[in-house]
Symmetry: C2
Subunit: 355 residues, 2 copies
């Protein structure tokens, strides 16, 4: 890796395509001038946007393609028409070929995961990748995974998620041994799914060097920031993430309604408007935009499809951070040494760690 | 059922026991003067509380027992020492014997479910009861079930949940054919668990008279109020419920912090305080206090253990409402006619409904 951070961008991904992607990159460049961008997509749309931003243009290349993955297509459809030639595929391929350090896309999540898995392949011993989210909490931020890459998880997979999530938290939060909790529906040892209990036993008994196993946590512990890393399988994780987003939006609506209902409230709103601005910023889902695909031979960042330039820039910032801090190398190291049998990645990680 | 609504109360349940239960009953009585209460628990603690409230005392009986189920015990432990003689068991037993129309307890959820199942038994064709929550939304309220009675659900059980939840929504919201959504992690037909897809197929193809099947919904649809009834298995449902509670508390903290940070904000808060009071009320978890156990031969209402008199009164109100509107009779009718084989309750319900 050179001093430059080379970022591949799927310019056609997301609901608003190149407009948001190019404007987001321009914002991110002001914060990280050592970035280099490769835009994949329709150059007739991208070039004029770059012409209007000379500083960004000087740090960018465009690779033209006319194929773009649609937001509503199934992964299998997207793979059929988009493999080898879509902007999404080519952006991922740049990471595979070593032409870029990370790829950021606001496109169709299912297609992005399918293409990433197909092209980059999973890390040795990892069968299924995960999507990790950065979740704002009362104590700061936590890593929550898996928020939707795959449904269901056995104990081994949950331990893998704990190891990968802890590596991400170590890097992003600068903590030596992040605390890790397993999401469950009761704090008593007796409750919950068999595989969650088994993962708890493994994490408790094997004292992994890179993480501090806390125990079970419940849904309300996520927002409290009880632990640095919350581990769950993708179905429950996705429902938790979307439910929290929905609740935040709901309360935002209540607040807007309450603050416009009387003259006193409107006056109060004016006086307290900087406080409201702060609150809005804290509740802003754009601040934590970007899911990280973990468990692949390469780093893929998924931005929300409906985000704006500020949100897309936040996803690029996240990509920048994980490249600079060598997330991939650290996860690979935490998961076990190369050359070992890959039958039980969790056990392998434990063995590698214990020796 | 007489004109009176007879309510059995587990006076020892909840973190604060008889204090909250008796005060909550007094509040509920002012709203529903036709209520009659039976308090189960330590009469030495209950009697003085009733003596201080003559109106309540006149509408109440006390059944003394010295055994109380502890909040932290496992269901199996609670059953061992509490069966036949604890306040929780005796309150449930009053419903079984026909001495009360509904039971309300703020005690240990697992023990309450275990005792309810053991004593009341499940309805014909229903193997596992569910806990239904009333969830405040931008459009009003929705019924969400199962929020933690049991883990995992096959397609038949999900269809049962849809039928029971719709019966509850019909009664509580006064809607003829409530809309029902299946909680999933994508709106495309292809996504999600096999059993959720299969339940979707059944609900779509069989046009059940008592509900209007909407399709898949995601976590953020719950707060929006996209559907009247959200159906999911208990693990994901409990995580969704707790995550939403945690997010609401988190935003409440942000708001408190923001409103005390500057003089302008404090002044603004004063001017807008009635708006804030409204907001607090809308966000107040006590308003929706009370999970309803569905699928049993009797109605059991679970109040939050840590609630106050206002919250406990809301749980009693809920119990009052479902008794007055004959929830149990309507669920039993919707689930199918007696005497039919109980191999597939979902199919049975469909058969009963179609004829």
């Amino acid at each position: 890796m050179s001093d430059k951070v080379r970022i591949a961008l799927d310019a056609m991904g997301g609901d608003r395509g190149p407009d948001v992607v190019v404007a987001g990159a321009a914002l991110a460049l002001t914060r990280h001038p050592e970035s280099e961008f490769v835009f994949f997509g329709n150059s007739a749309l991208i070039a004029p946007l770059l012409d209007a931003r000379p500083a960004l243009k000087a740090a960018s290349r465009v690779v033209h393609t006319e194929v773009a993955v649609k937001m509503e297509d199934k992964p299998s459809q997207a793979l059929r028409y988009g493999r080898w030639k879509s902007s999404m595929w080519l952006a991922i391929d740049a990471v595979k070929k070593g032409d870029a350090d990370v790829v950021v896309s606001g496109g169709n999540t299912g297609a992005l995961m399918a293409m990433s898995k197909f092209n980059l392949k999973t890390l040795p011993g990892i069968e299924r990748p995960a999507i990790a989210a950065l979740w704002p909490t009362l104590r700061g931020e936590s890593v929550v995974l898996d928020v939707g890459a795959s449904i269901g998880a056995d104990a081994d997979h949950l331990v893998d998620l704990a190891v990968m999530g802890a590596a991400m938290a170590r890097i992003l939060f600068g903590i030596d041994r992040p605390t890790v909790g397993l999401l469950n529906i009761g704090v008593e040892e007796v409750k919950g799914l068999e595989q969650v209990r088994e993962a708890a036993r493994v994490l408790r008994e094997e004292n992994l060097p890179g993480l501090d196993y806390f125990g079970f946590v419940e849904g309300n512990d996520i927002g409290k920031g009880t632990v640095d890393v919350v581990v769950t399988e993708g179905f429950a994780g996705n429902i938790a993430l979307k439910t929290a987003e929905g609740t935040a939006r709901q309360i935002g609506e209540y607040l807007r309604g309450a603050m416009s209902r009387s003259i006193g409230a409107r006056l109060g709103y004016l006086l307290a408007r900087s406080a409201f601005r702060q609150l809005r910023e804290r509740m802003d889902p754009r601040r934590a935009n970007g899911g990280v695909f973990l468990g692949l031979n390469g780093i893929v960042i998924k931005s929300h499809g409906e985000t704006d330039p500020e949100g897309f820039a936040a996803a690029i910032d996240l990509g920048h951070g994980v490249v600079r801090d060598q997330l991939l190398a650290k996860i690979t190291a935490a998961l076990g040494r190369p050359g070992k049998p890959a039958t039980s990645p969790a056990r392998q990680a434990l063995g590698g760690a214990a020796s």
